[in-house]
Amino acid sequence: MAAEKYSMVKALNEALRRSLEADPKTLVMGEDVGRLGGVFRVTDGLHKDFGDARIIDTPLAESGIMGTAIGLALRGYRPVVEIQFDGFVYPAFDQIVTQLAKMHARALGHVKLPITVRIPFGGGIGAVEHHSESHETYFAHTAGLKVVSPSNPVDAHWMLRQAIASDDPVIFLEPKRRYWDKGVVDPLGEAALPLHAARVARAGKDLTLVAYGPMVKVCLEAAEAAAEDGHQIEVVDLRSLSPVDFDTLEASVKRTGRAVIVHEAPVFLGMGAELAARITERCFYSLEAPVLRVGGYFAPYPPSRVEETYLPDLDRVLDAVDRALAF
């Protein structure tokens, strides 16, 4: 099969299929992942080909899903858990933070939990409450978890395969508003980057926009718009939120002297807070302006008719770019 144009959903589906084929211990489990193929159809067709034993429709209980996945991993399985929506992960939060993250250390390395937790996250699709949240900080703040978020179909495909192959628990945040974006994926090829490497998505010399998941596209558009005003904006797609590839980030900001961090999650104590602090430590003498952040407001995620106000968009990103450049 040669390279084909895939949506992110299809790219993820193909990644699951390849992982299931590669290792008979790999399982897919979650609510409605079987015959329905998941509410976003990411697991479409897998039940037909791999059956009940490997594509497991679970009872509607997220802590139960996570806890039994841990048990299956203890038995030697490699579960890929689907949490149906971001806002539904909290019932599983205890199992993730208290058990999944810590068991390897608690066992002094005798236990490995190679579990991937897929979560469609973020807003922008006009959903009802609890279907648009960005909770990456909760997970990234927890030692023992790895956290990644792809921004495009190619990364989605390869990063999921890498996450499933990893012996560490990985929280895999899928930007659901980008599920239908298209990209050319060659499942027979190989990953261009290690799972936890950042990527310079667009080169520039005047300012670095830092984003991941759904906001990378917005930042690329902002860079394009800024180019019309003569500003060369670099865009770094972090891809991994724990660990963060600070070296790539540092190199970029040392080149540009300015950084603006963009995410959907609230600015307050969001990923941007940590990134800004690290950039300041590492790039202090190269900085021409304070590191600025653009993100969600410190309010519950709003009703969908006003979510565009809450979410960073082209204009808000450009506004921050202008402020940073004006310093």
């Binding site: 009872p59 139960g64 039994t68 996945a69 048990g71 058990q99 390395g109 005798h110």
Partner: protein, 373 residues
Amino acid sequence: MTVESTAGTATAAVPELVQLLTPEGERVEHPRFSLETTPEELRSIYRDLVLVRRFDGEATSLQRQGELGLWASLLGQEAAQVGSGRAQRPGDWAFPTYREHGVAWCKGVDPLNLLGMFRGVNHGGWDPYEKNFQLYTIVIGSQTLHATGYAMGITKDGTDDAVVAYFGDGASSQGDVNEAFTFASVYNAPVVFFCQNNQWAISEPTERQTRVPLYQRAAGFGFPGVRVDGNDVLACLAVTRWALERARAGEGPTLIEAFTYRMGAHTTSDDPTRYRIANELEEWKLKDPIERVKAYLVREGWADQEFFDAVDAESEQLARRVREGVRNMPDPDPSAIFENVYAEGHALVDEEREEYVAYAASFDGSEEVGEGR
């Protein structure tokens, strides 16, 4: 079938509590649960009970002496643990709370391994795969889901291993335990839910957790529930063995409620005189799990004073070994903080480890950094 969880309505003919050995040490028969035991096996059971109690008592003393930060005593629950522990085959897995010292003993886990976390030198640290005994789990009820998932894996593998999930009356209120019941039921997982109802969740009596006898909860989930005299090691052994055989035969989960009593405090940090009356303790003393086995052995002439003296001597040896082992248990090197956070490493952990090492080295040997106590 009448002692199953449909009980409570049509069970008048059969006692609710399965018992094979009375508190007076009299062997009685039960219409459903029979048990063949040899004198040798009974002596071995007695030895387990005594050694486990002695180990537990030593650990309590070590806490009082400042050698352990905390201890969760199993005093009074020896029969429930030794009975259910001995019912398991080596291939079976046990998923304990933090009080299953007697189960650990039966599985062959070195008692010293259990003490590391209570001394504060690790959070468990033993290899669960060595004796098929999972690490202690402190957050109440979480391990019942791990047990269920593990059992689901056994089904996928097609082997006849089984799993015992330990928890208590307090945990029965946890969502995770109820989710474990649901998952085990719908996937027909080979897991035995072994609830030690020791009557107290720290200071809260069982009435604060449930309006129905706990074993009856199983009915709502669609599998059998049995209440067993948790101070009767033979009944616990017989019923757990039966439940494990059901699991192996593909008949799914069972809930066993071992009706027992926490004779001591919840942990060494607790003071039960603030919330329960002394009378209760006195009543339960009469149901002691060890005395009844001893009485039975004596009555049948299967053990003499020489045997009992030998077991006592062995228990003192064990206590001595535990005492010395704990006192000589080294603190971990502070840099161990950074080990085993991830299986495949993490850049930030590596960076912080280097920072720490450099910081420690900056003292140039004049002072130990991060020296424990």
